[in-house]
């Protein structure tokens, strides 16, 4: 299970390289992507690529935080191997 969390941290870290792991784990999505739509689209693409799960922008904001995105991905059986799926 720790592996999923680390993979998600890597996704966030690649898009927000200035943040530490602790800052990423504590971050709210809105504080990161509200002002930067390019970053949000990139983050969504990276998560899609890493976990095979498509999330749209509204859903990303609804998920609110790193922790909730992690919980959402944990809810998927075998996240990272599931076929592409879109949540609306």
């Amino acid at each position: 299970m720790a592996e999923l969390s680390d993979r998600l941290v890597r996704c966030f870290s690649s898009v927000f390289p200035a943040l530490t792991q602790e800052e990423i784990r504590a971050a709210t999505v809105a504080s990161l992507v509200d002002a930067d739509s390019l970053a949000s689209v990139t983050l969504l693409a990276v998560i899609d690529e890493e976990f095979g799960v498509q999330i749209d922008l509204e859903s990303l904001l609804e998920l609110e935080s790193f922790q909730k995105i992690e919980q959402y991905l944990r809810g998927k059986d075998g996240a990272g191997t599931v076929p592409n799926e879109t949540i609306k």
Partner: protein, 579 residues
Amino acid sequence: MNLIEALEILNQALPENAPPLRAFLACGLTPLHLQTFLAAHLRQRSPQHRVEVSTGLFGDLAGNVERLQGSSYDLLFVVIEWQDIDPRLGIRSLGSWRVVDLPELMKSASLALARLEQSLLRVSATVPTCVCLPTLPLPPLFVTPTYQACRYELQLRQLVDSFAVSISNESSLRVVSAQRLDEFSPPHGRFDIRSELMAGFPYKVSHASAVASLLALLSQNPTPKKGLITDLDDTLWRGILGEVGTEGVSWHTDQHTHVHGLYQQFLDSLASAGILIAAASKNDRALAEQALERKDLIISRDYIYPIEIHWSRKSESAQRILKTWNIGPESVVFIDDSPMEVAEVKAAFPEMECIVFPKNDSLAIWDLLRRLRDLFGKSAVSEEDSLRLKSIRGAVTLRESLELTGGSLDDFLQGADAFIRFAFGKQGADKRAFELINKTNQFNLNGRKLDESGWLRLLNDPDAFIVTATYQDKYGPLGKIAVLTGRLRDKHLEVVTWVMSCRAFSRRIEHHCLKYLFEKFSADEIAFDYEATTRNGPLQDFLRELLGVTPSPGLRLSRNRFFERIPPLSQQIEEVVCG
């Protein structure tokens, strides 16, 4: 490369003083991940550079190219999609797909491509330019079912193909191979309609990576290999000469050995483009010579030179071939069906590309031919390419003749009917001069290479001059063999680049080059941007002899000194002013 890897590459720290590599990505789509991938691929290929990829306005490809100042960038990448040719060929712009509008759409597409061609021709004179033609499927706007090509669809593709043919004639403009892109990124997996509607970015992430990868590769333009050494038995042909005899070896379909014929045909093609081909075989010499004389040999026998056939080590053969060709092992590919022979040559020449010929695997041979095309590929074939082998044979004849007769160089030069043509001026399409600067190591003023953007800057620098020398004598033409570039400021003459092909040594062409400069510019002194390298020994020897001391950076040569020291020069000289 996936997106997370691309981002991580770009997040890697660089030294503060890393030189910039400035690229412009001209496209009509939102650059998004394409920009990221392009920057990452460029960074991977130029890890010491601070890669900067700028972009223009969304939906305005032609305008982005038209507004571009090429001299502000090192590289230009142009990515064209159907909607850049006409917005109706995309899905974001809602207009008309009515049948009656299709003829007008064709006219509009033709005009758009003509406009783009004009601006590309202009800007590519100042910056190396790589172009990717439309990669996405056309929308279902034609009247035919999707499995039937509509006349208008064919017409559109013809327009794009004509456009591509026209721009590919420009030496500083290269087009991505659609076939290669198909291999990297299958056509059915490219279009991301969701991303197109949401963000104006129509590429699947994997397709963006493939397009960026090929564009970066195309911009790199590596120096091609110069020579190939091939084994004979079970390589150039199937069978062992010593076992089956001259008529027993084969390369034909009826004997199921066609792939060897294909290999011969490929080597023949390489040779026709100026690549040197030699044979190295452990064999009975008379037998091998007899087999090479067979009339049904696909490769022209004359193309194979030299031929090393004996029972000694293959590395000894390779050594002698390199000496005859006068090129380094890093410029050569060695091919043999025996892994042991390949390993032996590789151990002797680690820089040489050594490949095992996959004699029983047709698919692997197909892959080998494609790999060889990449190693030897070049944008265009020059006149000098066709002269290379002839001039090497001439040099060997000359060397043997001097050794046999014991004659002096003066005697030889006087009887050689030699002729040197100096061309003064800037010819943008002169790829041979650019090639010589980048492939010449031994007679090279400072060993510095020049990338395409540097070459274009030189061509556009009003203070800079370029001189090339072309040589021929009774042993045959050598073609363009020397290039000098420099600047003249306030009567101060500085030579920045000076290279001369090793094929032109021992003819005093280097003395003629300096004499030409002193006389052309009425200069009292020439300053040289000289630097010793591990490989420019011949240039160092020449300067040492001329100066009487070991050359060092900041080198200057006075007119008086030069004319006191030059030996007799007997060649005829002609000057051509161009550009």
